[in-house]
């Protein structure tokens, strides 16, 4: 499938997950997207899945403790300053469940976009705002680059017998990671300029024409969003 209809379909699924109130619809979208993401190579998908599912789980666990909705109390907790009573009601759990599923669906849609789509061709398809789309494409590629840099720093430290353990140990890699990214960005900008980026009169490599599947996917994306709004 071409990247533009595929991206439109993913965006539509994320939009439906945000719009609809039906938990089973959101759950079905999240499950489908999770299965889709599992098609990506294990090494690349780990960070995206860990981040998305971890965040969704956090929302599910913490949200009932800090919200005050419903009357069917399941657990009567202590009173905490500022937050108040840590009661948990069945209504809060249901609401937390759907919020967590929504977050998971949106996160997984982005993960599928980053892991499975040909972002280059998406960029080529952009007839306008090419610089912005290029910046977005480079930013998406930054995630695996940062991951590789972090692994490289850890390896160089471990290679010297320096243990990197726990959140504090990893946190001290943050500053060199950011500095390294800035340095890489400068080098990349220099290489891009040397290859003519920004010159007037650029052309575009021809891309393959859309197939029937591409047109169907785009129509499905539109119908999904309209259906979610209407229902």
């Amino acid at each position: 499938m071409s990247p533009v209809p595929a991206a439109a379909l993913l965006a539509a699924l994320a939009a439906v997950a945000l719009i609809t109130d039906r938990a089973w619809v959101v759950a079905a979208i999240a499950t489908g997207l999770l299965l889709l993401c599992l098609r990506a190579p294990r090494g690349r998908r780990r960070l995206y899945l860990f981040g998305t599912l971890g965040s969704a789980l956090s929302v599910f666990l913490l949200s009932p403790l800090v919200s005050h909705v419903g009357t069917h109390v399941i657990w009567d907790g202590p009173k905490i300053p500022v937050i108040g009573y840590l009661d948990v009601t069945s209504e809060e759990i249901a609401a937390a469940g759907i919020q967590a599923l929504r977050l998971a669906a949106v996160g997984l849609a982005f993960a599928a976009y980053a892991l499975l789509l040909d972002l280059d061709r998406l960029l080529q398809a952009a007839g306008f705002a090419r610089r912005s789309v290029l910046a977005a494409g480079l930013a998406t590629r930054l995630v695996p680059t940062l991951e590789r840099d972090a692994a490289g720093f850890m390896e160089a430290l471990q290679g010297r017998g320096v243990e990197v353990a726990g959140a504090r140990g990893r946190a001290r890699l943050l500053s060199p990671l950011v500095a390294g990214s800035l340095e890489r960005a400068l080098n990349l900008a220099e290489a891009m300029e040397a290859r003519g980026f920004g010159r007037v009169g650029r052309t575009r490599a021809p891309s393959a024409p859309w197939t029937r599947l591409d047109r169907l996917a785009l129509a499905a994306a539109v119908l999904l969003v309209l259906g979610a709004i209407w229902l």
């Binding site: 494409g137 590629r141 695996p144 160089a156 021809p206």
Partner: protein
């Protein structure tokens, strides 16, 4: 008529105390193959950047004199305007890749310079075929090895069919066979080629002219034959030294037996064994992607093998092939002290031994690339390990520094077992007691 003219060029980077180039003049004729040699930090890369228009446009600084390339004065034309007539391949392929797919990466420059759309894909595929990377066209760039990525970057500049091709250490990531292939392809293009290298034998075999740059000045501009008579000894081509006598059996400090390892179910090591004894220096050589670094990391304990046995005695330290990984702390001396629990005295001694005295309080990112290489080495040697594993320690290092490093490793050889992973067969001959060649065919047998 000359393709490029440099007239009395003096250039100083912003905030630098002294010029990177001083009163440099030269003229490049169409079709010339020119080797640019000289020590690290001598101004070679700055000269190449001036010919691509990146100095001064991209870097700023104080620019005096004139550079004209293909009729364009670089003071008036930006690097993007020169692109197409000039193409430059940089040292580190990781820092020049824009796109996620190989074919799109090669097409990027062609699109920028306004190549007619119907010519773009044919030229992309022709360039990939020229560098022996046609099979990589549909691969994602992040899945490529450094050597493969370097070929893709070369294809991207060859596709532009430039009049002036500038290569800044293009073979630093490649094995000897790959380096020969790449330089042969570049030199057969018919363009004027300017190639800077720290393995001088390769360009010296192919060039018609040699420039030697030292402290910002061209100290030698001669034909190849004249240059061979006048270049410093360490830059002259030679055969690798014969290996020295293998030291008598010493204490075994690291033993790998029948080790296997795979990345994402792609096998890299299959049934590999290696023994390192105190007192010996072993060089691990072989083509790109054969598993040398993986084997070194397994030996260092940074990777757990899927099967097989690994035994180590004493402290083991591993030097990564990327000196950019040794920039964690805010000061040079703190970085060097990391491996010795913050002992600054030991760190300063290690820094001084590698010629970095006086830079202890600098930020590691303010160091030049040559100084970063030495900081990385100091950060590992400071620990005085029993097992020392160095992964491509001569990448980007000039011949005199390589000789110094070889002498240092030999001097301390009796104290430890040393494993050097290298593509540099001259260095391997200079430093090693034993060479272990690792090839794809023999992967399971060696």
């Amino acid at each position: 008529m000359a393709l490029a003219e440099v007239e009395h060029l003096t250039f100083t980077y912003p905030d630098a105390e002294r010029p990177a180039l001083s009163d440099v003049s030269l003229s490049l004729e169409p079709g010339e193959i020119v080797a640019v040699l000289g020590p690290s930090g001598s101004g070679k890369s700055t000269l190449l950047r001036a010919l691509a228009g990146l100095v001064p446009h991209f870097h700023g600084g104080r620019f005096e004199g004139r550079v004209v390339v293909a009729g364009m004065d670089t003071r008036r034309f930006r690097p993007a305007d020169l692109a197409g007539a000039v193409a430059m391949l940089f040292q580190d392929p990781e820092n020049q890749v824009v796109f996620g797919h190989v074919a799109n990466e090669v097409a990027f420059g062609l699109e920028n310079v306004g190549t007619p759309p119907d010519q773009i894909w044919p030229r992309v595929h022709a360039a990939l075929a020229e560098v022996g990377a046609a099979r990589l066209a549909e691969r994602r760039t992040e899945t490529l090895s450094a050597g493969e990525l370097q070929r893709i970057c070369l294809a991207a500049v060859l596709a532009l069919e430039p009049q002036l091709l500038i290569l800044d250490e293009p073979t630093s990531q490649l094995d000897p066979e790959g380096a020969v292939e790449i330089l042969d392809v570049a030199c057969e293009l018919g363009a004027t080629v300017l190639v800077s290298e720290q393995r001088p034998a390769l360009p010296l075999e192919r060039c018609s002219r040699v420039l030697f740059v030292d402290e910002g000045r061209i100290t030698l501009d001669a034909t190849r034959d004249e240059a061979l008579a006048r270049l410093p000894q360490q830059y002259l081509p030679r055969e690798p030294n014969a290996l020295g006598d293998v030291p008598g059996p010493g204490e075994t400090l690291c033993r790998l037996e029948d080790v296997t390892f795979a990345y994402d179910s792609r096998p890299v090591l299959e049934g590999r064994s290696l023994t390192l004894e105190r007192g010996e220096i072993v060089a691990l050589t072989g083509p790109n992607g054969v598993g040398k670094t993986t084997l070194a990391k397994v030996a260092a304990g940074l990777l757990e093998p899927e099967s097989g046995r690994v035994e180590r005695e004493g402290r083991c330290c591993y030097l990564s092939q990327d000196p950019g990984r040794y920039l964690v702390k805010e000061r040079v001396e703190d970085e060097a002290a990391l491996a010795v629990g913050g002992d600054l005295d030991r760190a300063r001694r290690a820094l001084a031994e590698l010629g970095l005295a006086g830079l202890e309080h600098r930020h590691p990112r303010d160091l030049s690339s040559g100084e970063r290489e030495r900081l990385a080495l100091a950060s590992v040697l400071v620990a005085d390990p029993d097992v020392l594993i160095l992964d491509e320690p001569t990448r980007g290092v000039d011949p005199p520094r390589k000789a110094e490093l070889a002498a240092r490793l030999r001097r301390d050889a009796s104290r430890r077992a040393t494993l050097v992973v290298t593509h540099d067969l001259l260095f391997a001959g200079d430093v090693a007691d034993r060479v272990v060649p690792l090839t794809a065919r023999e992967r399971a047998l060696a």
